[in-house]
Structure formats: structure tokens, C-alpha cells
Amino acid sequence: MIKWLMPLGLLGLLGILVLILIYIIRPKYQQKFITSTVLWRQLLKRKRKKLPIEPIRNILVFVCQALAFTSLALLMAQPKLFSEGFVNDETEKIIIIDSSASMLAHTAGDPTSFSRFDRAVREVKAHIDEWLMDDDGTISIITAGREAEYAIADATKEEYTDVVHTLDGLKCSYGTADIQGALNLAEERLFINPAAKIFVYSGTDLGNLGSAVTVRNLANIQNEWNIAVLGCTVSIEESEYVFHVEVGAFGRISLEKNLYIEIKGAENGEDKTFDFPKLYKKVAFDVNSDNLDYSDIQTITLRATDPAIGGQEDWYFSSYAEASIGFVDLEDSIDEDNEFKVYGGVKDKVKIQYYSSKPNIFYYLSFQYLRDPMSKTREIQFNRAYALSEVQNEGHDFYIFEHNLPQNIQSGNAPKDGVLIFSDPNDLSAYGVELGDSVTFNGLKYFEAGDAHPLLQYIDPHTMGVTAYRRITSYDESFVPILFCGGDPVMLVKKTETERIVVMPFSLNLSNLSAGTNLTKFCYNLIQYFMPLTLDNYEFEADEEVNVNCKGTTVTMTDPNGKADTLTEFPATVTLTELGTYTFTTNFSYDKEAEVRKAFVHIPAAESGLFDVEAMNMKLDNTEVWEELGEDLFLYFAIAMLVLFTVEWCLQFKGI
């Protein structure tokens, strides 16, 4: 929307400036009578031939005047550059409805009562007749959900039924409200029609938003109160899971409620899972006193071994599938925040098998070092096969083969369920890689980097080197070389649906990888690249965007309503709009049990606070008065200037 005609006063001032400028730059010529101008004219002709720019300079004043003339003419014409026209219509109404989760609040103790959102919609509907029919006006409805957007725009009385249907179809979200965005949309409309009236229906005290805005606060301190489980963090203290639960009470209440925790799928390392009975803890809330924001937020610590809440001292567990935390017998204003589920208690197991014809401890130490920092999310098991007979062909995520390969592996009969890491292999022809002669150096020969690759994240390839390596003479196209030494590839990576292979044609004994941290970083990258966590977190706010990774081929996402969606490209970004438990099932192309991970989606903690104050730093005012005055004055000004210009031109052409 262009509004360069507003304010007109500014344009008028600019016009005056242009005029002054013209008269400043306009040369003043004194009359001089001479006998003949023949020679002067000849001289000017000669100069013009030399300087072609001279004629342009001569008409500069004319061009400036023409521009000023055009500007004034435009000012007089008052062209409407607004796409919808500039109006001053008080009958236009812009309705903003807050559709954040706090608008779900209803009368406490009466689940059948209307929520704030329902009441907002009903109030708008009650005004439609007056706004559309009686005033013959227009209505625009903006919903302020995760993003502010028009539900309907510029509806007239002919579209009455559309407006009603739109209002009936509006749904309150479980997320936050972009009130600011909605006000911005309304402000754009206000530029076109400064007399438009804006009505905001919200449960939040938004403060004074200016003369154009009427805020209808639907919060009801008398009948509404809310108790919520706002969130939960889990820590491991003395080998025991401890749940730190944040709970809050909002409104004029003073009561005591039982908070329960129920842990399911607990495992203590015996390959047997069991469910704990519900454990209860009393929580007392008191927000009747001088609490100005009507809130009482507390952090409650729960542990299964706490006898005070019904636990037993021997109820230790190393993992758990699900923990439910909630309040018993709660009939407050928002039902959706009374229970919270905690997932993430099941760690990803990373099983590594190492076999070497000349064993060393480099890989073992590197993975061992990673166990602790990765222990929150992963459990690393490192198995060493000391003899050929101990080499397993399945059941691991990584298979490291060093130096001479077992016969079956060499012939291509490799495990299918894990990543094959060939370190200084003797023969890889069965895998599409041909090894040639050995290249040796007197000292360390440092590597050169290929294209950036996740396996070399945090690693500077130029700090790694070898004294000898086997030359790779050819390799299958599905391999990607990521490291080079003297122009020869010294690290190949293959990641397809059926095969995941890393080839390193050099011995760790003849390299400096294990001397520093590079091998550890490389092992970390191996886990992250080939076995990424499906989700980084296991609890999200509604409408939150989440990255999903996959260690198999596909991930099936099932929402709390049972609706499934299969993700095939990773990392995938999905928006979790429903409240409850989402299930993410990772499927593998090879014979491996699908991996299930769950995540809990809850309403944002801030939305549980029913009586928040959120003052907007914005003022929207109706400004129709100056517009009419300014328009008339400057119209006359423009006419006067135009006449003066015309007279001046005429005089100039007549040579007076």
C-alpha cells in the first residue's frame, strides 16, 4: 500500500522547497544592450558543438519547473494510489480474536460452561446484525493464533452468512497468540481507513491500545482459576531418576491438591520392565493474599524411592518408558494442562563390535570416553571379539574390522544391520573397493580435506596424518571420498538404504589419529551421523516446530488422535498442533525391530496463567480530522502555485 500522499502537508512543504530550490538555482540575467550579438552567437554555437551537455544544462531549469508543475498537478488531482481506495468509514469493524490456549478457560467447576473463546465468538455474533445490517458496514475478522491471519476480510451484509459460518468454524488453538501480528494487520487497514474501529477479544490485559481499539477482556476473576502442571525436568541424582515438576495455581484460590506420578515401563537392567503404582504428594496453593498477578508457581520434587509419597527405597530403575504427572480430581478452568507426560527415559543403545587381527585399544578408549558425555541419551556398549569365532554377524550398530578381515566378511558376507567400519583392511573387492600398493613416508604425511562431511565435523583434516596407507585404486560410485592423502582417497563413506560402510585404508598404529582427540571426535561423529536421535527433546509446546531424524529408512509419526504420517526425508521439520502424546516409529530396511519414541505436546506454560498482563507497545488511533482540513488547504495551495507557474511561463515565452 502506497501512501505517499499522506500527509499532504509534508508534500506541500516539499513543493515549497522545490520552488525555492528552482528560484535559487535559476540564473539571474541582467540586460545588456550591445551593438551586435553576432559574434556571441557564433561563439555559443561553437561551444555547443564542443560540449553537447550544454543544451541539457540550459533546459535544467525547465525540467525542474516541469517536475514541480507535475507534482502540483498531481497534488491537485489527488490520485488514489491505495489499492482499495482511501476511505473514512466509521462503519468498518476489524475484529481480532485471541485464539491462544488461555482462551480455552471456562468457569471452574463447570466443564460444560462456555470458554473464553466461545464467549468471544458469541459476542461477535451478537454484534453482527448491528455492524453489518444496521450500520451497513463491513467486518474483517483476524484470528491471533500462532500466526495472525484473516478469517474473513471486508465482509458486507451480502456476506452475512459467510461471516456466521466463519465464526462457527473458528477453533481455539493450543498454542500462543500473535496479538502483535494481528494488531499490525489491523494497523495496515487503519492506513486505508483511519476511521475504522478495531475490537480485540482476549483474555489477557493488553493495556491501552489507542482510540481506534476497543479491548474486550474476557477474563473472569470471579469464576476462573486454574491449576496446571507447567513442566517437568528429569535429572539423575545418585543413580536415581528425580522428577522436578513445576506446578502453578492461577486465580483467587486457596486449596490443596494431590499431585501424582505414575511411572511405566521401568527397567533396572534385568531385561524386564515393570510399572510402578501411582505415588501422591500433597501440594498447597494460596494465591488469595497480596499476589498481584494471581499466581502461585512451585517446583515439586518427586522420586520413586521417597516413602513419603508412597515409594519404596528399592524402587530404582535405569530407564523408563513413560512418567505421567498430574492432579487428582481437578475441576479447574483449563482441563488440558492438568496432566503432563515425561518421555525420554529410554536411552538409545549403541552396540559396537570390534574385531582386529592385530588388536589395539584405540577404538575402545575412544568409545569408552564418549560413554559419559552421551549417557543422558545413549548407552554405548563396546564388545571386543578376540577370536574369529566370537565375531557376530548381527545385533550391533557398528562393526569395526581392522587389518585382515575374517574370511566371511572378506567374501562379502557382512552384517546387514549395522555400519561396517573397515580400518586398514586387507581386501575389499567384495565391497566395490580395490586396494593397491602401500605408500609409505619417512615422516607423517598430513591429510587433505575433501568436501565438508558430517563425519569430519569438529575435526581439522590437516592435523591428521599417516606414515603409510594402502592406495585405493578404484571404488564403487556409491562411495564418497571425504579425506585425501597426496591426492589418494584415504577415507570412503557409503550410506544407502541397505549399506553403510566407512573405509580407512590405513592403520591407526601408523597414524596420529589416536594421539589426540581426533579419533574420539570421529567416533562421536559416527554415532551422530549413522545413529542420530529421532528427537532432540521429548516434550514440546503446542504449535512448536520439531526436527525429526532417522537412523533407519522412514519415520512414522502418529498424533494423539491416531492420525499417522510417514516421513521420508531427513531431517524433517513438523509442527505439532495437537495436545497429547505423539509417537515416532523408526522403520529399518533390514531385519530390525522398529524403534518407537514418544513425545508429549502440552499447552505453553504461559497460557496456563489465566490473568496475565501483556502491555503492547502500540497505539492505534483514529485520525480522520486532520485529513479533511489538510486536503482542502493544500488543494488551494497547489492551484495557486500552478497558476503562478503558468503565468511565469507565459511571461518568459513572451520575453517580458
Binding site: P27, K28, Y29, Q30, Q31, K32, F33, I34, T35, S36, T37, V38, L39, W40, R41, Q42, L43, L44, R46, K47, F653, K654, G655, I656
Partner: protein, 298 residues
């Protein structure tokens, strides 16, 4: 116009001078200009062999006594010439009174030299595409001074177009004298056809340019609306707006020199004598020095 130059003292100084014209002119009988033809004057010119029919009284008997051959003595002939003076009477000549006086004085002086030499004089006033001849052919000092008195009162106005007005001149004889054109030659019109016409009439031509110092080296500068003295209206194409800088003044002076050179070259190529004078130059100096140097007077 009160011409301070045209005083008795001025004319008395001119008494010592006479116009020196080309000898190949024919002229009229009765003047004082010696011409190439042989005539009846007392001044010996040459001998030639006697031929049958020649007047025997003109045989040089002394020579016969020595050479025993008949030779005739030949004497020079003297003729009267017609001096036409074309005076540019356009506004550009009259805008600066000093310039007008100078031009009229030159015309009068040259006319006087002719009259004093028993020649005929006619003044042709060039203005508005015509060549006025208000005094007719003047012979004798009385008539001359009468004409000079009128000449001082002429009005300089409008434009002068030599190219068309000179060929319209009455009494343009052939090969009978000198035509003098006095002007500033600051004209848009092509004056060359007029000069060519005089040459066609086999007249000796003298062109005198009169310019003021300001016309040669203007002192004005800055943004000026230059009004041409010959322009009838303010919006005439001759009136121009110009920002005059020092470099432009230098270029203007250069252009003046080039213009004078151009006229001079044109005249030289046609055997015309061209003289350019500044009005600040004393008129006596012009006559007694410049004209003498140009061998126009003796």
C-alpha cells in the same frame, strides 16, 4: 549628431593629401588622376615609332637628329574618378555615438580627399536593404560641405544588408573609380555579394571596418541577457542569454581576430584593400598613417 571631427581645421589638414587610385581605371575626362592611357598632359610618358597618320607635331625632332628615325613623344593622361562611399547606417553603427561619428568622419574625410582631387563623390547610406543616395553625385567643395552638413544628421537604425542593397545602387559606373565600404561588418547577412558586385563593375574597392574597443574586448561578464541593437523585440532570436566567464571573453577576443582575419583574407584574395580601425585610434592617425601605409593616399 554633433561631429566634433568635421571642423575646418580637420579639413584643412587634409588639404595636403590626395587619394591614390589604381592606374588601370578609365574614369572621366578632366580629373587629376594619372592613368595608364596616354593623353594630352604635359607629363612625358614614353616614345613610340611614328606610324602613318600620326600627328607630325608630336614627332621628337631632337631624337630624329640623332637617330635619323621618327619617334613620337607620348604623354600621360589624367582622369576624373567617381568615388562611391557606402556607409553602413544600421543601428549597430549608431548605438555608440562615438562609433557613428568616427564612421561619418571617415566618410567625410575620404570624400573630401576626392573632391579636393577634382573627383566626383557620392554617398550611399545603407539601411533596411536599400542604398539611399540623398546627395547625388557631388562635385565641388560647396556642394560637398552642404552634403556633409546633412551627413551629420543621418539616423542610424534598423539593419543593413550589403548583399542586396549595393547592387541596387544608382549611378554605378564601370571601371570609373573607387568604392569605399564603411561598416562594422557585424551582420548576420552575407555582405560578400555586394562587394563582388563592385568588383564585377571593375571598381577599386576599399573596405573599412570600424569597431569600438568594447566590441573587440568586452568588459562585461556574468549572466547577461545580451540585447542586440538591431533586434526589434525582446524575444528576437538575436537576443541571447549567456553566462560570460573569463574564458569566454578570451574565446570572444579570439573569435573577433578570426573574423577580422577572415574578412582580410577574403579581401586579399580579390585585390580589395581592407582596413580595420578601432574608434579609440585618432582619426588623423588613421588617415595620415594607415591610409598612407596602405598607399591609398599620397
Amino acid at each position: 549628431m554633433n561631429n566634433s571631427f568635421l571642423s575646418d581645421a580637420f579639413f584643412s589638414r587634409l588639404e595636403t593629401l590626395a587619394l591614390h587610385l589604381q592606374a588601370n581605371l578609365s574614369g572621366y575626362y578632366g580629373g587629376k588622376h594619372q592613368i595608364k592611357k596616354y593623353g594630352q598632359t604635359m607629363e612625358f610618358a614614353d616614345f613610340r615609332n611614328y606610324e602613318l597618320g600620326d600627328d607630325i607635331r608630336r614627332i621628337d625632332w631632337n631624337l630624329y637628329a640623332r637617330l635619323k628615325k621618327y619617334f613620337l613623344k607620348l604623354y600621360t593622361d589624367e582622369r576624373q574618378m567617381h568615388i562611391q562611399i557606402f556607409l553602413d547606417c544600421s543601428a549597430s553603427m549608431g548605438m555608440i555615438p562615438e562609433k557613428a561619428r568616427y564612421a561619418v568622419s571617415l566618410a567625410a574625410a575620404l570624400g573630401f580627399l576626392a573632391i579636393r582631387n577634382m573627383d566626383k563623390v557620392s554617398f550611399h547610406l545603407l539601411k533596411e536593404g536599400k542604398a539611399e543616395d540623398p546627395f547625388g553625385i557631388i562635385v565641388g567643395k560647396n556642394k560637398f560641405f552642404g552634403a556633409i552638413g546633412q551627413l551629420e544628421k543621418i539616423k542610424f537604425e534598423g539593419e543593413a544588408d550589403f548583399g542586396t542593397s549595393i547592387p541596387k545602387t544608382q549611378h554605378t559606373g564601370t571601371n570609373d573609380g573607387l568604392s569605399i565600404v564603411i561598416s562594422d561588418f557585424l551582420t548576420e547577412e552575407d555582405w560578400k555579394p555586394g562587394v563582388n558586385f563592385l568588383l564585377y563593375k571593375r571598381r577599386q574597392v576599399l573596405m573599412i571596418q570600424v569597431m569600438t574597443k568594447e566590441e573587440r574586448d568586452p568588459l562585461y561578464s556574468g549572466r547577461l541577457n545580451l540585447i542586440d541593437s538591431e533586434s526589434p523585440r525582446a524575444d528576437d532570436f538575436r537576443n541571447i542569454r549567456v553566462k560570460i566567464s573569463r574564458s569566454m571573453l578570451e574565446e570572444y577576443s579570439k573569435l573577433v581576430k578570426e573574423t577580422i582575419e577572415g574578412i582580410s583574407n577574403f579581401c586579399a584574395s580579390r585585390g580589395i584593400t581592407f582596413l580595420s580601425f578601432d574608434t579609440e585610434e585618432p582619426i588623423e592617425k588613421v588617415i595620415f598613417k594607415e591610409l598612407l601605409q596602405a598607399d591609398l593616399v599620397n
